[in-house]
């Protein structure tokens, strides 16, 4: 059975989420293996949430916000960028491949970029295989062998 990744995407209200809406309006077709959680600004996304998501079995987490310089709240996305960069460095210590955490800048008008980013990320996570944190053996078994490379 093919592995169906579980991916959470945090989208900021003003850019990334709006880009997602536009992707829908434009009928871009995207693989269904992601769930969007909306915040007002990507700077609201707490690194703790991301770790909790991985702990509960997420195979991939993406944070999407406004392009640098265009943040609706002026400079929120600069904080996001630094936090995610730092968190990525720490993922290896938790036994997770850094590639499982993604960061993207998607503006409200970038419908195609939203679709491409999601599809590409889903493909990347599919290749990485299920997260080593997947709870049940049935889960890991049915998903095939995990290709985990822990970069410490």
């Amino acid at each position: 059975m093919t592995f169906k990744p579980k991916i959470i995407v945090f989208c900021c209200n003003w850019c990334a989420y709006a880009g997602g809406d536009l992707a829908g309006i434009s009928r871009y077709q995207i693989k269904p293996y992601f769930r969007v959680i909306r915040t007002m600004c990507s700077a609201r996304v707490d690194p703790e949430w991301i770790m909790e998501a991985f702990r509960l079995g997420a195979d991939g987490v993406m944070v999407a916000g406004c392009h640098p310089g265009d943040c609706h709240y002026i400079g929120g996305n600069y904080r996001t960028r630094r936090r995610i960069a730092l968190l990525r460095c720490l993922l290896g210590q938790f036994g997770l491949n850094q590639e499982r955490l993604g960061l993207a800048w998607i503006s409200a008008g970038e419908a195609e970029k939203f679709a491409t980013t999601m599809n590409d990320f889903i493909e990347c996570i599919t290749e990485l295989g299920p997260s080593p944190y997947r709870k049940t053996t049935a889960d890991t078994q049915s998903a095939g062998l995990a290709k985990e490379a822990a970069d410490v």
Binding site: A18, G20, R27, M40, D46, L56, G57, Y73
Partner: protein, 709 residues
């Protein structure tokens, strides 16, 4: 990227036959190249192949505009654009009809947005008497207190016609919703946003005593306000509501995968239910507003803004540092469209001095600014006297000034002057007696190390003064040494006129500036690029087009107001294109040279726009803050202050803990200034900071619900 100065002679396709089929006598595989033939500034005519040629075309008025102008009875200019007067850039030839944007001439986005706000302000000035008379206040029933109740969630899943229903199994999703914790009612609707369904939702809220609602349909960016209003009408706080986007971000993007789309819809509903179970009622703070304004600076921008606000019925405190009003405008004599700027200045000064709504303070400085939008307080200092004033908004119009050059012998030789000094000179009697040769140098102190910006108006000023000189003294030789000629918009026509009148334009490059010596007569040497020779001139008068500097007080003022400056020392707006007259800090606006070098027309438009924007705050009784703002758990906060620099809006301050021991600190949140981004919440190391409506426990519940069924 290569930058080449050249005149394009031709653009053509060159066909090459790559293969000839001798048997058939036909041509096979011909290829074509795109060739540009051009004459560079120096050297031979050349041809070069390119993959693509992009033409920078101009803007022209449409035929429809001509017809519209005729119907409206407003004048067109010779180019077919809507005519305006430089000193009244937002008015057409007919009173009561205002204009902005490219209809009145080519311009970029910031100028268009500025003019748009300005025209709204002009219109508003005419409607002062009737402001608010057509406004209706919506009445809602009193909000029920649900704080003691367990969540009772109602879920409404929408078909949206076939938009959702043809992909997602909507009835099954509604059925599934019933199985979720705290859901006491669930149904599916054809169109949840229809009036019928709104009425029905209100009935269900009453019948099932619902205290939370989830709507699974389109994007919250589409209909959240609509559904929130329905909740208000049913006596529920509008924040006891969540949406699941099962259309734009589900059925529409997974059109051929109904099973996956349905599974996703279930997950999204489960996530929304998990969050809404934990949300609390929220109220936006409603603050009093002082319906008056402080305008800092009594130049063209300051006076224009003050008059605009005064005409709209608001009290204005206008503060000017110098003894006289006018700022840089005092030094101008004429502009292209208006030969008597002095008269204009006199007129506007009188209007300001006479207007009953304007309290004018000259020789006065602003010592301090305390407070926040709608509620500011300042100390003004005039000599040794101090005065306290309260007001709701601030317009910063502190201006700029002509930089005094430190090159080309300026300050060392009386014959070397600036454009403003030239203007003064030209208004005297017999100003050019003894002046046979006059040379102007453009871009003095501009577009080079440390001051890379262009001062925008100097090319137009030079051309204007050159034309005046030719008028007064046709035999005088006038040279303009330039790097680029930027007589933008309709001023290009004056540039052509200057050339026709015999003004000689000589281009120089930044790395080979003209050299000036004065052993006796002034001697100027410049490398003439077309002739590839040194040109030696002996000007009787050397005029320098010097850059515009921001006011020296900007740095101190920026700190006082907590607004940013750009790298050149001008005050930085919230967004170059979309918010060109305001700062990120709410309630503070900017206009004129304080923002950037600009013409009189541009200054007037920006001042009108700043006043118009300021009015959106002081025309209301109350200022409504955001409801989804930061809130601190006072038990957990130890005043570490990590959150403070994260806030872009200066809404956070570390203060002494009230009633606490000595040295105990805590963060204080200004509810009017917090815009609800949540950046401080993620930064807080102790978990003391929260964002209402996006609390950690709510978001973690959503995350869990997305991964665990």
């Amino acid at each position: 990227m290569h930058f080449k100065r050249a005149r394009v002679c031709d653009v053509y396709k060159r066909e090459t036959i790559l293969q000839k089929d001798h048997k058939m006598g036909t041509q096979k595989n011909s290829d074509s190249e795109l060739i540009v033939k051009y004459a560079p500034e120096t050297g031979e005519v050349a041809e070069e192949e390119f993959d693509m040629v992009v033409l920078s075309v101009g803007l022209e008025p449409s035929e429809r505009q001509r017809r519209l102008a005729s119907r409206l009875g407003i004048r067109l200019d010779p180019n077919g654009f809507i005519w305006t007067n430089s000193l009244r850039p937002l008015e057409t030839s007919r009173p009561g009809i205002f204009i902005g944007g490219t209809a009145s001439g080519p311009k970029d986005i910031p100028e268009t947005v500025i003019q748009a706000s300005g025209t709204a302000g002009k219109a508003s000035q005419l409607l002062v008497e009737v402001r608010g008379t057509l406004t209706l206040e919506r009445e809602f029933p009193p909000e029920k207190d649900v704080s003691e109740q367990e969540p009772r969630i109602g879920v409404f899943v929408c078909h949206c016609g076939t938009n959702i229903g043809s992909v997602v199994d909507v009835p099954a999703t509604a059925q599934y919703a019933k199985s979720l914790p705290y859901v006491v009612y669930a149904e599916d609707n054809l169109y949840t946003c229809s009036q019928d369904t709104q009425d029905h939702i209100r009935e269900m809220i009453a019948e099932y005593n619902l205290n939370r609602v989830v709507v699974a349909s389109c994007s919250p960016r589409t209909h959240e306000p609509l559904f929130q209003q329905t909740l208000c009408e049913a006596g529920l706080n509008p924040h006891l509501f969540e949406m699941a986007n099962i259309r734009d971000q589900c059925s529409w993007i997974h059109m051929n995968r109904p099973q996956d789309a349905t599974e996703k819809a279930r997950d999204l509903v489960r996530m929304a239910v998990a969050k809404v179970a934990l949300v609390e009622p929220l109220a936006a703070a409603s603050l009093d507003v002082t319906p008056s304004a402080l305008v800092i600076g009594g130049g063209l921008a300051g006076m224009t803004a003050a008059l605009s606000l005064a005409k709209q019925g608001f009290e204005v405190v206008l503060v000017e540092r110098q003894k006289q009003l006018g700022g840089t405008l005092k030094d101008l004599r004429s502009i292209f469209a208006e030969p008597n700027v002095r008269a204009y200045l006199q007129q506007i000064k009188e209007h300001v001095q006479k207007h009953k709504n304007i309290a004018l303070y000259t020789s006065t400085e602003v010592e301090s600014v305390e407070g926040f939008v709608g509620n500011f307080e300042s100390t003004l200092k005039t000599g040794s006297k101090e005065k306290m004033v309260k007001y709701g908004v601030i317009i910063v119009a502190t201006g700029g000034n002509e930089h005094k050059p430190d090159e080309y012998l300026f300050g060392q030789d009386k014959r070397v002057i600036t454009q403003l000094q030239l203007e003064d000179l030209l208004s005297c009697t017999e100003p050019l007696s003894g002046v046979k040769t006059l040379v102007m140098i453009q871009c003095v102190g501009s577009r080079e190390q440390e001051h890379m910006y262009c001062s925008r108006v100097c090319c137009s000023t030079a051309v204007k003064n050159a034309l005046k000189i030719k008028e007064l003294s046709p035999e005088a030789e006038v040279y303009i040494l330039y790097r680029d000629i930027r007589t933008y918009g309709f001023n290009e026509e004056y540039f052509q006129a200057a050339r026709d009148k015999g003004v000689i334009f000589v281009r120089y490059e930044a790395d080979n500036k003209p050299k000036v010596t004065n052993k006796g007569a002034l001697k100027l040497t410049v490398h003439e690029l077309l002739l590839d020779r040194e040109l030696v001139l002996e000007p009787d008068l050397l005029v320098l087009s010097s850059r515009i500097d921001p006011d020296s007080g900007n740095e101190a003022l920026a700190q006082m107001l907590k607004v940013p400056m750009n790298e050149d020392g001008f005050l930085l707006e919230a967004h170059v294109k979309l918010r060109p007259v305001e700062f990120a800090t709410e309630g503070i606006f900017v206009a004129g040279l304080a923002h950037s070098p600009k013409s009189m027309a541009e200054t007037i438009a920006q001042a009108e726009a700043a006043a118009a924007k300021a009015c959106t705050i002081i025309s209301k009784d109350k200022y409504k803050a955001e409801p989804t703002i930061a809130a601190v758990n006072e038990d957990l906060c130890d005043g570490c202050g990590i959150c403070v620099p994260v806030c872009e809006y200066n809404a956070l301050e570390i203060a002494d803990r009230p009633g606490g021991k000595e040295e105990e600190k805590i963060v204080q949140i200004n509810e009017a200034m917090c815009k609800g981004c949540g950046g401080c919440v993620a930064a807080c190391p102790s978990g003391a900071m929260e964002q209402k409506g996006f609390k950690n426990e709510q978001m973690l519940a959503m995350i869990k619900a997305s991964l665990v069924d």
